[in-house]
Chain length 334, copies 4
């Protein structure tokens, strides 16, 4: 009989609800607490998930809680994670662990080799399509990896109110591609070059951000990587990976909402791709929580944590520097 | 707060396990009993599902059991269904309800307008891809439906031991296509013509069955339908629907195990399709149990029951007659 | 220096113009004459092709004419072919050589082993896509061929005036599929079963023909073949071949008018397929004339002639008989 | 009756043979001369094309020669073009007109508004797939063009002997993408950034060149363009255009050598793409010569000439500067 791990969820926002539903439905977890200061949000979700609400402190005081899912607002991630680790809980933290590399580095002692395991949720690493691509790449299906093209195009920009606190396109959005590049290459780029514009909505520019970007990563081994980002595609949530090797290429395309094609005189129309991350990545969210159960059972090491967070953030910092200076920027060693 | 329906599962075989796992994970059911005479099969599955084992009679005696999933061997479906209905339980019965139309007709009084709802699991009706096709067809996306092509190719033949009790290719396998044709057209064909051969394994022929078939259905409205079946495709579990209308066509293709393509000098290889029904149709199995919960809640009428079973079986009978006589066979009115 | 063959073209209709333009542009032919009784049609085409007009007799009298392309109306094919053969000319005759098997058989002595080579233009045998399929099939890429599905859907019905003289759907249209089946299997079916309807235009039915058909071919070896025909698809000129073997399948799809896809929120729309045979099969028409040049040079035997014509026609006759009697019809041995 | 234009071909190399065969087969040209100093190359091609050999001067002296196709080695393009223009001939010159912008500019007076029309063969502008994409883009099918991704991957590197005289990757190879960007956007980028490596063959690096590159173009309007190049793809001659607009995207994919797919348990393998430019772009080569005939007939202005050559070359120069300096380089105004 498999062990059941008592866990708590912190945060009743969009990601909190997604994580909570998976945890509540999984036979591997006993989701005991929801921690959420906003009572109006806490109550309904706790009822749906069949768990109690509690303060963060009260929850930490329950010695049977083995793990904590930190899905609160980004600015609270680091403090809550540190507190939970100190209380002896394993932590599953939504990305980013923090937006400031300096703050991460200040806690390196507690985060780099934490007392209890720390997983930071770079969910794309658990997408079955991308895992298939990586497995084939690692198996040498197309020879040595030479260049990489990562496409992340959002269907529509986030609410304007989110922009000022997002950390900017590179730290909020491109961060997934930075992590994907690290995961696929196993290498940190030497330099990054970024050009970005505000083409989608001038209000994004007025808030000090950009919405359309192209970046090149250059690796010491000679590899080159391109990242393509936009906040508004006009055709859905476009998430592709193209890996070019010495003997061919591996292309991870977009799953479609159905296999149905409509054939008319205008051509053959394939079904739309998905409209957003919640619909596109449900299997990765489920697999991540399975991974957390494996971690709690002592059967797995976290696939990503402090080092991956810092590496992705260092790339985002370098990209922002490149954009500011108009020149390539070296990537700080993690 | 949504109602939770107490149900029981009869049968711990392959389909029983599939149904049981979905029911156990669903917040809409309280899966209370597993009925399975073979103790060695009953125990482990009951443990996994977190339910008690019980005799069929003891289970029926629990007045709080609202519904019964009949997933036992085909030859027991009808008797168990009748008994459960008589005991006031709603029934979810694996297809076929029975292999003999005469036996079904003998119980028409109890089955056609049963005291409690009866759903017979023609699972493809709940596949999201096929539902998308049907929705577009019904919305007139390609005009009036004129011809239909249904492809069901199994990756590999069933165990030889299964062949003699299977009812034969048409009643065991083509039955899904017969139901699909009825569901898509809303019409019963006037006649059917069938040619079938034993090309895959002579042992199937020795057991009195065929393994490769092509059928044409002719409707009173002039529509024509083709069914293409084989027990061994050599390329996976191929399940397609092609619906040709007066203004175009709708094509439901095979989902693939991933979106990854491998590009080499040999061409671009798309990922394999699924290898069997359990991997191909998980969403339809889940949706069917949701449908059963809706039925138990009084929010839905069964999508398929006695009439659909009889209609599909009548087609299978006509096809078998056509194959025997070498001529088209009229389809008995349901 | 390659030989240049003096040839003549008979017929200035649609196919005559297609053949003439290819012949005139080819360095392997000296297209010397156009034979066409309708002066208004003959003059402009002869001018375009840069050749003289002549009577059929005058053209035959030119001893330097090595070959004749017979592209006149169907009812004249056989007589003109026989006359040209008798005059010592090789013949390239549009299909069908004749619509009546009895008439063909009456001239078996002159046609089966003709004095000069006779090619009958079953053009699909020269389509590069279908040739690729056949080459892979013959190389065993998918094991032994078990079943075949041939799809020929016209975008729109022919002019009503054509229907009464067309010979009917099977002899005019399905004839290509009958030949394709023979070419791919190398076998004559034992029986054929056909159901056909008039769904597209009642006027076609009033003229005594059908416009939508499904046929099954049964071979002595156990193979089964399905043919799918309609006179109006609503989505273009659909010409596909699906060959199912013991180890997989080969699928020849429709080429598209461009590789451009349009991605919007409605999905990804691939370019239309071609709208008719002239746009779909230009390479097969060019390859056929190259084949005729090879024949004239003594470097090739005709890929199809009397035997292939008779075989396809025998299938059409059997299909018509099946439709009339409502039962499978045996196919007459060629 | 359409006019026939007497023309001459200069150069019997690979492109000369391609151009010559199309011209010889076209009813719109009288290909009168082949100019080629190497007698061993000149004789056979002239024989094949059915034209005389002549010296460049003798050919120019024929007052009936209206146009000259310059397909000699790159270093002779400019001088021969200038001489032919001075002799009153229209010129069809293979790209590049010259590798040195300064040399082009030195002859601006003769080239920018030449006495007779000058077409420089940026052949991709005449590819039907890319024209379809541009037509849809210009028609606003996906709103305003925001970003562009041009992929040009060669199947295999050129002979090493070619590398030193090629002008380098950007001026020899990327030049097509630079022109394509200009053609699609109608805009000259403000800056370009390039990173490039030698990953395919160290000998290319030893010869002072690179074989793998990624570039970003930045436009004054905010548009961004990415160019992806490699000298060896491992999967064929990959030529794609992705145009992202405010309302969707247009994607011009690679045509395949056939429509045949092979379905096995390993997946579905589509036919290979083409192996090189001669097989990929025959229709663009034919359309370019038609364009030249239109120009000679006074019915069209050259689609590309001095300005387009200079614009593409200016981009190549800027890219080379960027690669040298490691910083973005402004693009010189044409």
């Amino acid at each position: 009989m498999a062990a059941v791990h008592r866990i708590a969820l912190v945060g009743a926002g969009r990601m909190g609800a997604i994580r909570g539903r998976i945890a509540a439905a999984s036979p591997r977890f006993d989701l005991a607490y929801l921690v959420e200061p906003r009572a109006d949000a806490a109550g309904p979700l706790a009822a749906e998930l069949g768990c109690r609400t509690a303060s963060f402190e009260a929850m930490l005081a329950d010695r049977n809680v083995a793990g904590v899912i930190v899905a609160s607002s980004t600015d609270t991630h680091l403090d809550l994670t540190l507190a939970a680790l100190r209380a002896g809980k394993a932590v599953f933290c939504e990305k980013p662990l923090d937006l400031e590399p300096s703050r991460l580095r200040a806690h390196a002692a507690d985060l780099a080799a934490p007392a209890r395991p720390l997983y930071v949720a770079f969910n794309r690493r658990f997408d079955p399509h991308l895992r298939t691509l990586k497995a084939r790449l690692d198996a040498g299906a197309v020879g040595a990896l030479e260049t990489l093209h990562l496409i992340s195009h959002d269907p529509a920009p986030p609410p304007l109110s989110f922009v000022p606190t997002s950390g900017g396109l590179f730290r909020d959005f491109t961060i997934h591609d930075f992590d994907m590049a690290g995961w696929l290459t196993g290498e940190t780029p030497a330099d990054v070059f970024a050009w970005a514009e505000c083409l989608v909505d001038p209000a994004i520019g007025a808030a000090g951000d950009v919405d359309t970007a192209r970046l090149i990563l250059r690796y010491a081994t000679g590899r080159l990587g391109v990242i393509s980002n936009t906040r508004r595609s006009g055709y859905g949530y476009d998430q592709r990976v193209e890996a070019y090797g010495s003997k061919g290429a591996l292309m991870a395309g977009n799953p479609r909402t159905s296999t149905v094609e409509t054939w008319t005189e205008a051509g053959a129309t394939a079904a739309p791709i998905y409209g957003g991350f919640a619909a596109r990545y449900p299997k990765s969210y489920a697999a991540e929580l399975d991974h957390f159960a494996d971690i709690l059972a002592g059967e797995a090491e976290p696939a990503a944590g402090y080092a991956a967070s810092l590496a992705a953030l260092a790339l985002a910092e370098a990209a922002a520097r490149s954009l500011r200076t108009g020149a390539p920027a070296p990537v700080e060693a993690p």
